[in-house]
C-alpha cells in the first residue's frame, strides 16, 4: 500500500494514496462539514460546503478545493477551518436556504435534517438573498416513499445510490442550471419507473426530499378500534437498530424492549418475524433439497427481499423459474397469523389487524403485491411500519425505551432460533438454510461448533463458497447491493447458454448493502461502521440462542404437527408460497 504524507492544519498525517482530503481530515479527527458527500458513494462535489485551502499554493491567494473530491497530494498542508472558509461555507448554506422551503416544522425530516443541522450550527438567522422556492407537487405514487422535489438540494445522493449502488435507475436529474430538478426516470411518477421501493434514496437523502410514507396513524386507529385484535411482528434487523433512536449503541439487541414498548402503545399480541424466518427455512430448505437432488431449476434463488423480487421481475425475469416460491417471512407470518393463530386463539380473522415492523420501505408495497398476499382469505398483513416510524410512535407515547423492562413474545408463533435472527444480514438466509439443509440431506445434525458458515459472512459485495455436505459439494453465492447481482446472474446465464453445469446451486440476494440491517427504513446515518455494529448484534443474538437451527424451533415443530402437516404440503403451498410474473420496467 503506497501512502502520502500530508498535513491537516499543520499537523502531519500519513494516509493511503488516493484518500480524499475529507477522509484524511476524518482520520486526523477533524470534521469538515458537507451536505452531499456520503461514505457509501463516490464524491460528486455538488454542494461545495467542504471547501478547504491548499496552504502551499503558488500565487497570491491560496487555492480553494473541495475536500470530498480532491485527493491528498504528497507534502501539502490543507487548512480546513479559518474565518474565511467559515464565511464561504456560511454563504453557501444561505444560498441553499434561499432556494429551500422553510416549512421545517411539518417536514418528514424535522429534527433529523442535515441542512437544518448545518443552519443551526452556522447560526443562520436570516437569508440575505432573494427567495427562490420552487413549488412542485409531491409524488407518493409508490405507497412506500414520498418524493418532494421542492425540498431537493441537488446533492445527488439519491440518484447515485439508485443508479450506482442499486443499478435501478429510477431517479435522475431533469433539466439544467436553475431549472434542474430530481424526478422519476423519464420524468414520470416513481411508481411507473423501474423503482423497486428499496428506499435507499430515502435513507441517503440529507433533507426531506425523499422520505418514507408515514402510516403510523393507521396503527393508532386500529388500536383504538375495540373490535380489532392488533397483532404485531418485528423483523430481525429492527432489534439491532431502533435503539439508536433512543441513544443506545448500534447493534444493541433490544428485542424484549420492543415487545414491551409495542404492548405499551396498545398492541394486543406480539409475535416475531424471526419465527416466520424459521418457517421460511423449513419451506425453502425443503425446496432446495428437492431441486438439488433432482437437479432441477438450479440455482435456487432466495425471494425474501421484496425489492429484489421486484428488480428480478422487472430486470431479470428469465430467472423466474429459479426463484424460491417460498414467500418472505413477513408474508408467511401474516398468513399464519390469520389462520393458525386465529384458530388457536379462537379469533375471527376478519377482526385481526396485523402490523409488521420492518427495516424496509419495499415491505409496504409487498403486502399487496399479488393475490397470494391474501392467502388467509383476508389481506394477510394490514400495515407495515418502518423502524423509523415505530421509533416516532414510541416517542409520541413517551416510552422510556432505554429503561423499559424487556418482555417475551406471545405464543404460539413468537419463538425463534439463531437461524431466524440472522435473516437480517447479508449471508444470513444462506447460512440459516445451510444449517437445516445439511440435516435434510444427510439426516444428521451439524454439531454446534460447525453451524457458523463464515465464508458467507462479511461485507464483500459478492461472496462465494463451496460447502461440503458429507462429501457432496454445494456451491453457494451471496450478493447484496443490487449492482452486484448482475455478475452472478450473468455467470448463470452463460453456463445455461453453453449447456454447462450451473456455477452455483443456491444464491442469496438482498437489495441493500449489508442486508436488511441497512434497509431503507432503518434509522438515519447508516454507513459501514454502523452496518458492522448492527451485523455483530445479529450474530451475537444468534450465538446466544438456545437453538440455532430452524428445524429445532419447538414452535416450528408444533405448527407442522398441528396445522401445516409437513414442509411443502398442500396447505403449506396454499399459505406459504407464491409465484412471480414478468413486469414491465416502465409502465408508461
Amino acid at each position: 500500500m503506497s501512502t502520502v504524507n500530508i498535513q491537516i492544519n499543520g499537523k502531519p498525517i500519513t494516509v493511503e494514496k488516493g484518500t480524499h482530503i475529507l477522509g484524511a481530515a476524518k482520520q486526523a479527527g477533524v470534521k469538515i462539514p458537507s451536505l452531499c458527500a456520503h461514505p457509501d458513494l463516490d464524491a460528486w462535489a455538488a454542494c461545495g460546503i467542504c471547501v478547504v485551502k491548499v496552504a502551499n499554493s503558488r500565487g497570491v491567494s491560496p487555492k480553494l478545493v473541495r475536500a470530498c473530491a480532491t485527493e491528498c497530494v504528497e507534502g501539502e498542508n490543507y487548512i480546513t477551518h479559518d474565518p474565511e472558509l467559515n464565511k464561504i461555507r456560511k454563504t453557501i448554506i444561505e444560498m441553499i436556504l434561499a432556494d429551500h422551503p422553510q416549512n421545517c416544522l411539518t417536514c418528514g425530516r424535522n429534527g433529523s435534517c442535515e441542512l437544518q443541522t448545518l443552519a443551526a450550527e452556522f447560526g443562520i438567522r436570516e437569508i440575505p438573498y432573494a427567495r427562490n422556492v420552487k413549488n412542485m407537487p409531491k409524488d407518493d405514487s409508490t405507497g412506500a416513499i414520498v418524493l418532494d422535489p421542492s425540498k431537493c438540494v441537488q446533492c445527488g445522493r439519491c440518484a447515485q445510490v439508485c443508479q450506482q449502488l442499486q443499478n435501478v435507475w429510477a431517479l435522475e436529474f431533469i433539466g439544467r442550471g436553475e431549472k434542474t430538478r430530481i424526478a422519476g426516470a423519464g420524468d414520470i411518477v416513481l411508481n411507473e419507473t423501474p423503482c423497486i421501493k428499496c428506499g435507499q434514496c430515502s435513507a441517503h437523502c440529507p433533507v426531506g426530499a425523499i422520505y418514507e410514507l408515514d402510516e403510523t396513524g393507521k396503527l393508532l386507529a386500529a388500536i383504538q378500534n375495540p373490535d380489532l385484535t392488533v397483532v404485531a411482528q418485528i423483523a430481525p434487523a429492527v432489534r439491532v437498530a431502533i435503539g439508536e433512536e433512543f441513544g443506545l449503541e448500534p447493534g444493541e439487541i433490544t428485542t424484549g424492549k420492543i415487545y414491551a414498548a409495542l404492548r405499551a402503545i396498545g398492541v394486543d399480541t406480539v409475535f416475531d418475524t424471526n419465527f416466520a424466518a424459521d418457517l421460511t427455512i423449513m419451506e425453502e430448505g425443503t425446496e432446495f433439497v428437492h431441486r438439488f437432488t433432482e437437479k432441477k431449476d438450479l440455482p435456487l434463488i432466495t425471494s425474501c427481499c421484496p425489492a429484489w423480487v421486484e428488480y428480478m421481475e422487472k430486470y431479470a425475469c428469465d430467472m423466474i423459474p429459479n426463484f424460491s416460491t417460498a414467500k418472505s417471512p413477513q408474508q408467511m407470518q401474516g398468513a399464519i397469523t390469520k389462520t393458525y393463530y386465529a384458530q388457536t386463539a379462537k379469533l375471527d380473522p376478519a377482526k385481526i389487524f396485523s402490523v409488521s415492523i420492518m427495516p424496509c420501505t419495499a415491505k409496504k408495497q409487498e403486502i399487496k403485491r399479488s393475490d397470494d398476499m391474501f392467502s388467509s382469505g383476508y389481506q394477510d398483513n394490514d400495515l407495515v411500519l418502518t423502524t423509523r416510524e415505530l421509533a416516532r410512535l414510541f416517542k409520541q407515547f413517551g416510552i422510556d425505551f432505554k429503561n423499559i423492562e424487556p418482555q417475551k413474545a406471545d405464543s404460539p408463533i413468537g419463538q425463534y432460533t439463531g437461524a431466524g435472527t440472522i435473516f437480517g444480514v447479508t449471508g444470513g438466509v444462506m447460512e440459516a438454510a445451510l444449517r437445516t439443509a445439511y440435516s435434510l440431506v444427510t439426516g444428521d445434525e451439524l454439531p454446534n461448533d460447525a453451524v457458523d458458515f463464515t465464508a458467507v459472512r462479511g461485507m464483500d459485495g459478492i461472496k462465494t463458497a463451496t460447502v461440503d455436505v458429507k462429501g457432496t459439494p454445494v456451491r453457494v453465492a451471496v450478493a447484496h447491493g443490487l449492482k452486484n447481482v448482475q455478475t452472478l446472474l450473468q455467470e448463470v446465464r452463460e453456463a445455461r447458454e453453453n449447456g454447462k453445469e450451473v456455477p452455483y446451486h443456491f444464491i442469496e440476494v438482498m437489495a441493500c448493502k449489508g442486508g436488511c440491517i441497512a434497509g431503507g427504513g432503518q434509522p438515519y446515518g447508516t454507513e459501514d461502521e454502523i452496518r458492522a455494529k448492527r451485523i455483530d448484534g445479529l450474530y451475537a443474538d444468534d450465538k446466544k440462542s438456545e437453538f440455532r437451527k430452524s428445524h429445532q424451533n419447538p414452535d416450528i415443530k408444533k405448527i407442522y404437527a398441528d396445522f401445516l402437516e409437513k414442509p411443502s404440503s398442500h396447505k403449506a403451498h396454499k399459505l406459504l408460497h407464491t409465484h412471480y410474473v414478468p413486469r414491465p420496467t416502465y409502465k408508461k
Binding site: W169, E172, F173, G175, G186, C317
Partner: protein, 160 residues
Amino acid sequence: MPTDQKTETVFSKELENFIAEWKEKPGNLIMILHKVQSEFGYISRSAAMKVAEMLDIPLAKIYGVITFYHFFKLNKPGKNVIQVCMGTACYLKGGQAILDETAKHLNIPVKGVTDDGLFSLESVRCVGCCGLAPVVVIGDEVFGKVLPEQMPEILANFSE
C-alpha cells in the same frame, strides 16, 4: 437487461442502421439522439424508450441528456416554429416583449405548441443578423426590427 416494452415508434431502416453502427462506440448517445430528432423533429417518449432498448441503457440517462441540452425537443413542434431571438442585441432591443406578446397572443408558454398544432414558440440565442434586431424567425423566414404589436399580423400570414 431484458425488457418487454412495446413501443409504437417505428424507426427508418437508415436510422436503425445508424444506431447499429454506433452502438458499441463510446460517446454515441448524443449523436444518435441528434439523428432521431432529425427524423422526427423531436424525441418522443416512445422514441427515447426505443433508443434505451437498442443501446441497452437506462431511460433515466437519456432523459438526463435530452432535458439538459436545449437543442433537444421533447414535444412535437408546431407546423410553424416561431423563434424569438434573445441574443444580446435582440434582448436589448426588446426581444423579451416580443416573446411575451407572442406567448400571450397564442396562449401558449415558451416551448409550448398551440392546440391546433400550427405554431410552437421558442426563444433562441443569436441567429446571426444582429443588425436587424430584434429578430423573429418563423420557419425559414426572418423578420427584422419587429415591434411586439406587429406579431398578430405576422402570425396571421401563417394561419392556414
